[in-house]
């Protein structure tokens, strides 16, 4: 019996082919790293058309490649952050996350944790605080993907749908992901999100500047995550979360440039790595000043 059920499940993609949900070329699409420029271009145009049909917005989906001599890293000052959550909301808007209906899980890649001063126990943190901030005797720790150099999520993926790019950003090919969520279980930072449903977005909320590996509107049933806004940062801009921070707590830059702001922080400040004992070598650092 189990054998038959398994066979039916294995053949399920063919059923959607029959129904016309996906085309043969979708089904036979190669892995991202094996795609030629022409094939990629064809896929991007197709995704743009699909997105236009589904969301009524003419999106511009690119495949911006990593640049030579760049390794991205992020630092965040725990002394400056006041927990206003502007970063978490900027993330939602930038990355086209579902946020129309009441029951939507707003899958912001950033969770801002409120902790007691003098403690660093994230188990006792509160991510649902509200009101005026910063509260007395509290401090705030935004957590997002740490882009680990030794990333457990990419090792857990059974189909290699997630990997680290040459500039150090861990990405997901949403067309290749099978939605098993092993990567989410492997992540020590709770940084990955699963699309339980097709994202609902009113046309005015769609950010039309999109990338294949980052903020294009994801299909249902795949995992997504923070990509350090690679559609912005690979073009020399700052991530959306940094741009809205009213306190200047966030520092972003190129690790390979000895004069970058991020290297200044790593050399001169007291730097703290969250869950350092997990041994994943994050490229996201907290510091005090």
């Amino acid at each position: 019996m189990a054998g038959i059920a398994g066979l039916v499940t294995a053949l399920k993609p063919l059923l959607s082919l029959e129904r016309g949900d996906i085309s043969l070329s979708d089904l036979l699409q190669k892995h991202y790293q094996e795609l030629s420029a022409e094939e990629m271009s064809r896929i991007l145009r197709k995704l743009e058309k699909q997105s236009n049909e589904d969301y009524g917005v003419a999106s511009n989906i690119n495949d911006t490649k990593a640049r030579e001599g760049v390794q991205f890293a992020y630092a965040l000052s725990l002394s400056k952050c006041v927990g206003c959550r502007r970063c978490a909301h900027a993330c939602l808007a930038e990355n086209n996350q579902s946020r129309e209906s009441e029951d939507d899980i707003e899958m912001s890649y950033i969770r801002v944790l409120e902790l007691d001063k003098g403690s660093i126990n994230v188990e006792e943190s509160d991510q649902y605080y509200d009101g005026e901030v910063p509260k007395k005797d509290k401090y705030y720790m935004p957590v997002q993907c740490h882009q680990c150099q030794d990333s457990p999520c990419t090792k857990a993926c059974p189909v290699e749908a997630t990997w680290m790019e040459p500039d150090g950003v861990v990405v997901v090919d949403y067309n290749w992901c099978i939605g098993c969520r092993y990567c989410m279980a492997a992540c020590p930072y709770d940084a990955r999100r699963f699309n339980w449903k097709k994202p609902s977005l009113p046309p005015e909320s769609v950010n039309p500047n999109q990338n294949y590996l980052s903020n294009r509107i994801r299909p249902q049933g795949v995992v997504e995550k923070c990509t350090f806004c690679l559609h912005r940062t690979r073009e020399g801009k700052y991530p959306a979360c940094l741009e809205v921070c009213p306190t200047g707590a966030r520092v972003f830059g190129n690790l390979l440039d000895p004069d970058s702001e991020i290297n200044y922080i790593l050399k001169n400040k007291r730097v703290y790595i969250l869950k350092e004992d997990a041994g994943t070598t994050p490229k996201f650092y907290y510091f005090f000043d």
């Binding site: 006041v82 927990g83 206003c84 959550r85 502007r86 978490a88 909301h89 939602l92 029951d103 939507d104 899980i105 707003e106 899958m107 912001s108 969770r111 188990e123 991510q127 649902y128 605080y129 509200d130 009101g131 005026e132 901030v133 910063p134 279980a185 709770d190 999100r193 699963f194 339980w196 449903k197 940062t233 073009e235 020399g236 801009k237 700052y238 940094l242 741009e243 921070c245 009213p246 306190t247 200047g248 966030r250 520092v251 972003f252 830059g253 190129n254 970058s260 702001e261 200044y264 922080i265 001169n268 400040k269 000043d289």
Partner: protein, 139 residues
């Protein structure tokens, strides 16, 4: 504008009863106008040696006391940069001290936090938290 050309500003803050009433000075130990402002040129600030600092060079004034912050700022690690991290691709704009900090009242007021997004629940959370804020996946 011309007041302090003829009438030298005094170290005492008595005149504040008449002029500059809107200024409520709460900058730590810094209790006198002339700690920062130049006594005769209203548009300038004052160096340690009494020389003038132009308004556009205000960073040099703040650096008199806040040396370590000034060092961080010069390195780009204090204050939010705007524009491009890669200056070969676009312009980066750096703000000066008083574009963010009110020099008369440098302590920032409290901010209203934006509402918490509904986060998906995680299997490893404590049971109390799971019941309070349950993610509600609708397939």
């Amino acid at each position: 504008m011309e007041c302090h050309k003829s009438l030298t500003a005094s170290w005492s803050t008595n005149r504040l009863w008449v002029e500059h009433k809107s200024v409520k000075l709460a900058h730590g130990n810094n209790k006198f106008c002339l700690n920062c402002h130049h006594p005769t040129n209203r548009n300038a600030f004052k160096h340690d040696d009494g020389s003038e600092i132009a308004e556009s060079e205000v960073v040099a004034l703040c650096a008199r006391c806040h040396g370590t912050v000034h060092r961080d700022w010069k390195a780009g690690a204090h204050g939010r940069p705007n524009g491009y991290w890669d200056t070969s691709l676009g312009r980066q704009q750096k703000l000066t001290c008083i574009q963010c900090h009110d020099p008369h009242h440098p302590k920032f007021p409290m901010l209203q936090s934006l509402p918490a997004p509904t986060y998906p629940k995680r299997a490893a959370r404590s049971s109390s938290e799971n019941t309070q804020h349950e993610g509600n996946p609708k397939h």
